[in-house]
């Protein structure tokens, strides 16, 4: 088993604890990865190896799962993740224009993080607030009924 630890000792300890609980469950790998991402915010390769060795699967398999699902991050995210909904209801109401403006302002594409690690820009699927379309989230905060004019205001709000 790999001895190398990553992150703080507390994080590693927590990871080991959560993996232990899952050992008796059927089909535990994805659940373990979700737990690990909740601890680290992303899935460092060391954590992936740890999961692989704990459940007796290959690292390739864990990596294969990580790349298959949109929710798993292989790189750390910025301090603020701006998720713009590109679900149908939002798209019809112009969320495509909103994301374009964010791209231009931040100088990054969807899925990327700014060099100062402050903002990550994500295109998300329907988050179920279609009544407020177009919608975006900054971390857990939801903003609705957007226009391109709101872009600068929202960025200014997180200017710390």
């Amino acid at each position: 088993m790999s001895k190398e630890i990553i992150g703080t000792p507390q994080q590693w300890e927590q990871l080991e604890k959560e993996l232990e609980v899952l050992k008796n469950e059927p089909g535990p790998v994805m659940k373990a990865m979700q737990a690990a991402q909740a601890i680290y915010g992303y899935l460092p390769i060391e954590v992936q190896s740890k999961i692989a060795s704990t459940f007796g699967v290959s690292l390739e398999e864990v990596y294969g799962i990580a790349t298959f699902y949109a929710q798993f991050n292989l790189k750390p995210k910025g301090k603020y993740t701006i998720g713009i909904c590109l679900g149908t209801a939002c798209y019809v109401k112009g969320s495509g224009l909103v994301i374009d403006k964010f791209k231009e302002r931040l100088g990054i594409e969807a899925g990327e993080t700014t060099a100062d690690q402050k903002f990550t820009l994500d295109a998300t699927r329907c988050i179920g607030c279609c009544g407020l379309a177009p919608v975006l989230t900054v971390n857990d905060e939801v903003y609705g009924n957007l226009t391109t004019d709101d872009v600068d205001k929202i960025l200014a709000k997180y200017n710390d």
């Binding site: 059927p26 089909g27 994805m30 979700q34 149908t88 179920g128 607030c129 279609c130 226009t147």
Partner: protein, 595 residues
């Protein structure tokens, strides 16, 4: 003690993002301060459906339906309405009776034509309190089947009800239960598909958020009918509120002995576990879902064997959609015949739709099968905002198609929708007006499927990519008439040769827009024009000199400095610099900019 009034605050996702949690807390505080907390009951409920006017607060016994409520309004509601009995009129809907009095909300056009069967408890009970579900006949249906019916009799009732799967395919539910029942194995599973991948749909989420126990009870009934002791609910990870409410509901049911090794003390075992998705649309497909629930990559499996024979962990598995389960307890309690009175000949019961896009009353609606699209859009939906014209409605999401304005009187049921080249799908209903470009919409859906294709089989992985590229070319104004024919051929090829439903249905949005809006494609190809003014490469912005007063608002709004002009003189746009963002149109107060 009986409370003299009930205050219901919507805790659905839409209203929660509009701050309804803070509204709830404010009520708690003010009720206490005014010593009202013993006589007035405050409840956080599931979705009322009218998300467009959220956050929503309803006060009984008056049935006052307050809309767009803000935290600051709470004080007025408590002091005026609760204390003095004077309804706060300014927060009510503007819909009035002929004599000028306020319409009771279930008489307003939005609610009047609806039939809330699956959503009966949403916006009525507190989903985080099992006692309220129990008070509304909760777990009575499970008790009835275990004490009065054999498993086969349960299946026969479901068969006789004519219920069809609400997850998209419309497969007869009773038959599915029969197959799973007939499989012989030491272990079987009941799975609930709560992946709800259709972008623009939130029916299943609202049901789980508003009435989680009804789904749990239905899974227990299914477990009894097919002989399974374990259930899994596979939920999208993007649904934190639904996940949380399900966890609470499962825990409460365990604490009450309703779930567990001796469920309700009636001698049968049933347990439920949650599995969270991780953001992959294809996992809504049942065999991919099973792989994902096992913790693997969510790639579809070859069928046969069908899940009813070889499903989760290789065991016979019944898999149904959330809304399908949402019908079960009502059918058991009221009988199959009662259910068959609703709907059309081959589509019984109701359907929940998430109404979105260019429509006044966006939100959640439940209608009897067979209602026309016109009633949904014009009456329930309140029509198209801003005086625009209805162009099309899209159902079935990325697997479905468009219903053009000429077919607005089609009664909505499974078979009619297939006949006109769309499908029921899981219930997303997106309304489009004259400002929506149908080529762009087809491209939007294709981009989605290309992104979400798992890549296992070639027709889907490469075919859809090629299809997307052709659409992109057309929106750039570089398409040819031959491309249209080539696209059509490719669509049929992909449909016939893909492994799973994702690939088999991915070309549908293209085929249906080609069928009903071919002239728009032709306009893009031959005239190099986008009639709706959406495709950026094909629109140009121009200032009409006669209308321009030279105020300079557009110049300041332009992000790339493409506009020049002296103050009080007509301005001009440099087409080479213009990025066609539309900021100038939004800024101009004189309507002087045309595209």
């Amino acid at each position: 003690m009986l409370e003299r009034a009930h205050i219901l605050v919507c805790g659905g996702t839409g209203c929660t993002s509009g701050n309804s949690k803070k509204i709830y807390d404010e009520f708690t505080k003010l009720l206490k301060e005014n010593n009202l907390d013993k006589e007035v009951k405050l409840i956080m409920t599931g979705c009322f459906g009218l998300c467009a006017r959220g956050p929503i607060v309803v006060v009984y016994p008056d049935g006052a339906f307050y809309q767009h409520v803000k935290v600051e309004d709470v004080q007025e509601i408590v002091l005026e309405h609760i204390l003095k009995g004077r309804i706060v009129e300014r927060l009510l809907s503007k819909e009035r009776e002929a004599d000028g009095s306020v319409k009771p909300f279930n008489e307003t056009p939005f609610y009047k034509s609806q039939h809330r069967l699956v959503l009966r408890n949403c916006g009525v009970i507190n989903p985080e309190n099992i006692d309220e579900y129990l008070a509304y006949d909760g777990y009575l249906a499970y008790q009835k089947v275990v004490t009065e019916m054999t498993p086969q009799e349960v299946i026969d009732v479901i068969k006789a009800s004519g219920l069809r799967g609400r997850g998209g395919g419309g497969f007869p539910t009773g038959m599915k239960w029969q197959f799973a029942h007939n499989s012989v194995a030491d272990q079987k599973y009941v799975v609930c598909n709560a992946d709800e991948g259709d972008p623009g749909a939130f029916m299943d989420r609202s049901l789980l958020e508003g009435d989680p126990h009804s789904v749990i009870e239905a899974m227990m009934i299914a477990g009894y009918a097919i002989g399974a002791t374990k259930g899994y609910i596979y939920v999208r990870a993007e649904y934190p509120i639904a996940v949380n409410r399900l966890q609470i509901a499962i825990q409460q049911a365990l604490d009450y002995g309703i779930l567990g090794s001796n469920a309700m003390g009636l001698g049968h075992e049933f347990n439920i576990e949650l599995r969270l998705g991780a953001g992959a649309f294809v996992c809504g497909e049942e065999t991919a879902l099973l792989n994902s629930a096992e913790g693997k990559r969510g790639e579809p499996r070859q069928r046969p064997p069908f899940p009813a024979v070889k499903g989760l962990f290789g065991k016979p598995t019944l898999i149904n959609n959330v809304e399908t389960y949402g019908n079960i307890t009502a059918i058991i309690l009221n009988g199959a015949e009662w259910f068959t009175q609703l709907g059309t000949e081959k589509s019984k019961g109701t359907k929940v739709f998430a109404l979105g896009g260019k429509i006044t009353n966006t939100g959640l609606v439940e209608i009897p099968m067979g209602m026309t699209l016109r009633t949904i859009i014009e009456e329930i939906g309140g029509g198209i905002p801003n005086g625009k014209k209805f162009k099309a409605a899209q159902t079935g999401g990325p697997s479905g198609g468009c219903i053009p304005a000429s077919l607005i009187d089609t009664p909505i049921d499974y078979d009619n929708l297939i006949a006109i080249g769309s499908m029921m799908g899981s219930g997303g209903l997106i309304v489009m007006d004259e400002d929506t470009c149908m080529v762009d919409i087809a491209k939007f859906f294709l981009e989605f499927t290309v992104d979400e294709s798992c890549g296992k089989c070639t027709p889907c992985r490469i075919g859809n990519k090629r299809l997307y590229e052709m659409l992109d070319k057309i929106t750039q104004g570089k398409g040819t008439m031959e491309d249209l024919d080539k696209m059509e051929k490719l669509c049929y090829y992909i449909k016939e040769n893909s492994l799973c439903g994702l690939g088999q249905t991915a070309p549908n949005p293209v085929l249906s827009t080609l069928r009903y809006f071919r002239d728009e494609y032709v306009a893009h190809v031959r005239d190099k024009k986008c009639p709706a003014g959406v495709c950026k490469a094909l629109v140009s912005y121009e200032i009409i000199a006669d209308k321009c007063v030279g105020c300079g608002l557009c110049k300041r709004g332009c992000p790339v400095n493409a506009i020049t002009g002296e103050i009080r003189q007509p301005h001009v746009i440099d087409p080479d610099k213009c990025i066609k963002c539309g900021a100038c149109i939004a800024a101009c107060r004189k309507n002087a900019i045309k595209k």
